[in-house]
């Protein structure tokens, strides 16, 4: 009966959301009483969807194959964790997870939003309920996870083996939390447009939600990238796959939003642009979640989809996104414009950042959608691959990275570029010196690698410039510097760390792209090969049985240049239920570098072995972690929410005013 109770809970949540949406958006001026009802309704929606989700989890755990979803995606022999994560390893279940996170965010706004003016609260929760009703309705009517089977099969069809990994337990929930979190910014933007009221308080409200979503999205993308890296067996960490792009676009737009909300909060400028970005970011999130389900894309992420469902999805996206932009077109002129500033200023730098990020979003969007549109209109199939993205995206990011360290050093309103430049000279010199040193030692031929390295070092060190200067490191006793470092406002630290993280990621990307080595060879047990100074010996070959798969296992001993040895097991698994093979690569870290070993296809009397050496590849994800950490630090900054502006800097000449 728990399955049916879960079904009913989801339906009840849908009904409450539908009525709340109507009430909130039509009667939003009706004050406190409505606000109380909507808050209660938001909490109820969360509780009910949580019950529905738990009912699904329970059915998967006890292998109740009278639930069609479990019969199609589970298997009684699967380890418990994969039974649970299997709930969202498919279209219907992942919709429920998506809705669960949506209503969780709604409930959080209800819980933390007691101080919101009631009309704003009504509009925000009304919009949030509208989204819940739309997606819960879509789920119930076109992809109901609670479909039952009167003749349950004896055994489930099992989950796609690639998804039977701890990555599935972590990656989608993080990513969805990121996507869905931006719905709050979207709802606030709609509220601002409908009520015509937008001020710094609005920005202070939007920024923590943007930050929170951005942190989740950063972690979700990084996790997805690492998962693809170790699971797909090719050692690639980014494929410019349409779905990766679909998650990357909201990240870029969210990053822009984060920065423009900053300008709005501090200087009450860029209001309309911030509202526009809020809508764009969530629209791209919707695109990210649903483009894959509409059946017009195929990739690792595509769930089986039928054409009617795709049509419903596309029309829903068109109505939601189109409606939001229509509202924007009609109402944005009623919003009051804010403060003025000179082109060379912190505001100017942030606008430059937004400009580059928005163009990058455009480039990725074109590269992702153009082949689809062309295919739909003319039937011509073209593939826009990594070269296009690397070229356009790289060309857009290079100037952004070049000017990035200047931004935090510029004061608001009006700034002196030369003064900021002087403060960065030391860091620039350090970056150039290191690049030349590494290029000389590494014996680089003429390529883009040194330029990339230079940018990476420049951003990394430039991020630290302000922290070092403020702490007066080297100019005053170390103890005093340390005291100053600890006393620095968290906003300075989070800016520095966020930019530092980006620099680290850039360094990792450049290093792997330029200095990765690989070898493909055939080996028999007892033989060995060599790559970049690492000696790889193939010790033995075995066949082993796992809980729901059988595997060919190769055991290897890797001897590092320093003489350190490590035992590695690389596997090729065949899953019993589906007969699908997967590759479990063996990965060994050496500091920040990794050796990546894949047991290839079996040949008659030997084995294909692929080995990659990936120098400093861990920097890519370490950088993402540092960025997310910077976001968390910024969230803990109390001043973010009460709106205490930074006291004007004594260091800046007053003449600039």
């Amino acid at each position: 009966m728990s399955i049916e109770l879960g079904h009913f809970s989801l339906i009840l949540a849908f009904a409450i959301a539908a009525v709340s949406a109507l009430g909130g958006l039509v009667l939003w001026q009706r004050g406190d009483r409505l606000a109380m009802v909507l808050r209660q309704a938001s909490v109820l929606q969360f509780v009910l969807v949580a019950v529905a989700f738990l009912a699904l989890v329970q059915a998967f755990v006890v292998s109740d194959f009278s639930l069609a979803l479990a019969a199609n995606n589970s298997h009684s022999l699967k380890p418990l964790i994969f039974k649970i994560s299997g709930v969202w390893g498919n279209h219907e279940g992942s919709m429920v997870l998506w809705i669960l996170i949506l209503v969780l965010f709604g409930a959080l706004v209800a819980a933390f939003g007691r101080r919101l003016p009631s009309d704003l609260s009504n509009l925000v929760l009304g919009t949030q309920s509208l989204l819940t009703a739309a997606f819960a309705g879509f789920t119930l009517f076109t992809s109901n996870p609670f479909e039952r089977l009167t003749q349950p099969p004896l055994e489930g069809a099992d989950l796609n083996p690639v998804l039977q990994d701890i990555g599935l337990a972590i990656h989608p929930p993080l990513l969805y939390a990121g996507y869905v979190g931006f719905s709050i910014c979207f709802s606030f933007a709609i509220a601002a447009l409908v009520s015509g009221r937008i001020d710094q308080a609005w920005a202070r409200w939007v920024r923590p939600w943007t930050m929170l979503s951005w942190i989740f999205l950063t972690l979700g993308i990084a996790m997805g990238s690492y998962w693809a890296y170790y699971e797909l067996g090719w050692g690639g960490w980014w494929f410019w796959d349409p779905v990766e792009n679909a998650s990357f676009m909201p990240w870029l737009a969210g990053t822009a939003l984060l920065h423009s909300a900053l300008v709005m909060e501090k200087r009450n400028a860029l209001k309309i642009w911030t509202v526009f970005l809020s809508i764009i970011t969530f629209s791209l999130s919707l695109l990210g979640t649903f483009l894959v389900r509409s059946g017009i894309l195929t990739s690792v992420h595509t769930f089986a989809s039928d054409p009617t469902r795709g049509l419903v999805i596309l029309s829903m996206l068109a109505i939601l996104i189109g409606g939001a932009f229509l509202l924007f077109a009609l109402r944005s002129s009623s919003l009051r414009q804010g403060g003025l500033f000179a082109p060379i200023s912190r505001e100017g730098a942030l606008i430059l950042n937004n400009l580059f990020l928005a163009t990058a979003v455009g480039a990725v969007l074109v590269g992702t959608l153009y082949p689809l549109v062309l295919d739909a209109l003319t039937g011509t199939t073209i593939s826009v691959g990594a070269p296009f993205f690397n070229l356009t995206f790289g060309a857009l990011m290079a100037p952004l990275l070049l000017v990035l360290p200047f931004g935090p050093l510029l004061p608001w309103k009006r700034a002196d570029l030369v003064a900021a430049g002087q403060r960065l000279i030391g860091m620039a010199a350090l970056a150039i010196f290191l690049t030349i040193l590494i290029s000389a030692l590494g014996g680089v031929s003429i390529s883009l690698a040194p330029l990339g390295l230079l940018l990476g070092f420049w951003v990394t060190f430039g991020a630290l410039a302000e922290v070092i200067e403020r702490a007066r490191i080297g100019r005053i006793p170390a103890r005093e510097s340390l005291r100053r470092l600890i006393g620095l406002p968290r906003s300075i630290w989070s800016t520095a760390l966020g930019h530092l993280g980006l620099g680290l990621t850039v360094l990792g990307v450049v290093s792997v792209s330029a200095w990765e080595t690989e070898i493909v060879t055939t080996l028999n047990p007892g033989e060995s090969t060599e790559l970049s100074g690492y000696i790889i010996a193939f010790d033995s070959f075995d066949q082993v049985a796992g809980p729901n798969y059988v595997a060919d296992t190769g055991r290897f001993t890797v001897t590092a240049p320093g003489g350190r040895t490590a035992q590695l097991d690389a596997e090729r698994r065949t899953y019993v239920a589906s007969g699908m093979p997967t590759t479990e690569a063996a990965i060994q870290s050496y500091g920040l570098s990794q050796l990546y070993l894949q047991l290839g296809e079996p040949l008659d009397d030997t084995h294909v072995i692929r080995v990659w050496h990936k120098p400093y590849i861990l920097l890519i994800w370490l950088g993402a972690l540092v960025m997310a950490g910077a976001g968390v630090l910024s969230l803990t900054d109390r001043r973010l929410r009460v709106g205490a502006p930074q006291p004007s800097r004594k260091a800046v000449p007053k003449a600039a005013e």
């Binding site: 109380m36 009802v37 009278s66 050692g235 493909v520 296809e601 502006p645």
Partner: protein
């Protein structure tokens, strides 16, 4: 296996019917109770503010700012904000108050009790009505551990056969028993027992083309490469007795082919091809069989294939050399050279492919193919 399902299911059918009858009622009671609780929570949320309404409606905005101000004071007291920051925050708040005064609009009349009740009625009607359409209140949960039919299904095939064998030992004249057990023996690889069982069936119910073919199949499977004279005779008899029987003709034709009696195979292949609808699984095999039989056992298709491949190779290698191509086309070319046993050209094509696609990531299938055929990777991948 049809014989696995007999027995236990029926004996459990009774209690389940009882649950089926009572289940939906209990479920609806719970669903209505949940809806009632949710609606009550919403109703009291609407009422709650009225009871505590200490601040008049017009002061609502001020109330909001007072709360914010109190928050700042609390932060100063707890040391989260410095005095100058607090001052700036208060000034900022004052500016906001001024701005919002300008925005002040006429207060709409507050939400009435009636509106709330209409909303709640809509929630209840929508949820219960929708569930009545979409839900299955009568379906019980069926976790794997509690399913009785599983026990029946999991009944060991060997155990089931043993059971039937006991019955057959007591009553060897049970045609149905032998009919059930014979294909099971085939499935388990016990071909001699299967042949014996089919012999029994034929003895008891008389020979038909189908049964003779079944017996011949069991004999052939048991004999392996060597074949069986008895099977041959059985098949000939089946073909003779039933002019429309396809399976016996296929087997007999295959046997003639194996024995080199091509002239006798030709009419059989032609006969089955005449009966074909065009979607049979054996169609390609029969067509090839006929072609080979007509040509006295020489397979001409392989020669044609060789010619076709060399034609394709010339075209493809020219195009790839001048215009380049996808990694799949390179793989095709290398495969073609390997099939033609032209390893020098295969190696050259492989080298060119590696030069065109230096990343091993792109060349998964190609590398496997090439290394498997003994080619060497000496391209620029290192």
């Amino acid at each position: 296996m049809a014989f696995c399902r007999i027995g236990p299911i029926e004996s459990h059918a009774l209690p389940r019917v009882a649950i089926k009858r009572l289940g939906p009622m209990i479920f609806w009671l719970i669903a209505i109770a949940v809806t009632a609780v949710a609606c009550a929570a919403l109703f009291y949320a609407a009422a709650g503010r009225e009871v505590n309404a200490a601040i008049p409606k017009s002061g609502e905005t001020n109330n909001h700012f007072k709360l914010l101000l109190a928050g700042i004071d609390a932060d100063v007291a707890s040391g989260k904000l410095g005095p100058d920051q607090a001052l700036a925050a208060r000034a900022e708040l004052a500016r906001e108050v001024l701005r919002s005064k300008g925005d002040q609009r006429a207060e709409a009349k507050p939400l009435s009790q009636g509106t709330v009740l209409v909303g709640l009625a809509a929630v209840a009607a929508l949820s219960l009505g929708l569930y009545a359409v979409l839900g299955h209140p009568d379906m019980p949960a069926q976790p794997l551990a509690e399913r009785t039919d599983v026990a029946a299904q999991n009944l060991d095939l060997d155990a089931a056969i043993a059971q039937i064998e006991t019955r057959l030992a007591a009553d060897p004249g049970d045609v149905r028993g032998w009919t059930v057990v014979a294909p099971a023996y085939v499935q388990l690889g016990r071909f001699d027992d299967a042949a014996e069982a089919y012999r029994r069936v034929i003895a008891l119910s008389g020979p038909t083309a189908e049964l003779q073919t079944d017996l011949a199949e069991a004999l052939l499977l048991g004999a392996g490469e060597t074949g069986s004279d008895e099977a041959l005779q059985l098949l000939q008899s089946a073909v003779a007795s039933d002019p429309a029987h396809v399976r016996s003709r296929l087997y007999l034709a295959a046997e003639y082919m194996r024995l080199g009696r091509y002239a006798e195979a030709v009419p059989l292949w032609s006969a089955v091809l005449d009966t074909a609808n065009g979607d049979e699984a054996w169609l390609p095999a029969a067509r090839q069989g006929l072609a080979v039989a007509q040509n006295d056992g020489v397979d001409t298709t392989t020669e044609d294939q060789q010619q076709m491949i060399s034609g394709m190779v010339t075209g493809l290698s020219d195009r790839l050399a001048t215009e380049g191509g996808t990694v799949e086309e390179w793989t095709q070319l290398v495969r073609a050279y390997i099939v033609l046993d032209d390893l020098d050209n295969a190696q050259a094509a492989y080298d060119d492919a590696v030069a065109a696609y230096p990343a091993a990531f792109d060349r998964g299938e190609l590398d496997t193919l090439a290394l498997g055929a003994g080619l060497v990777l000496n391209g620029g991948s290192q």
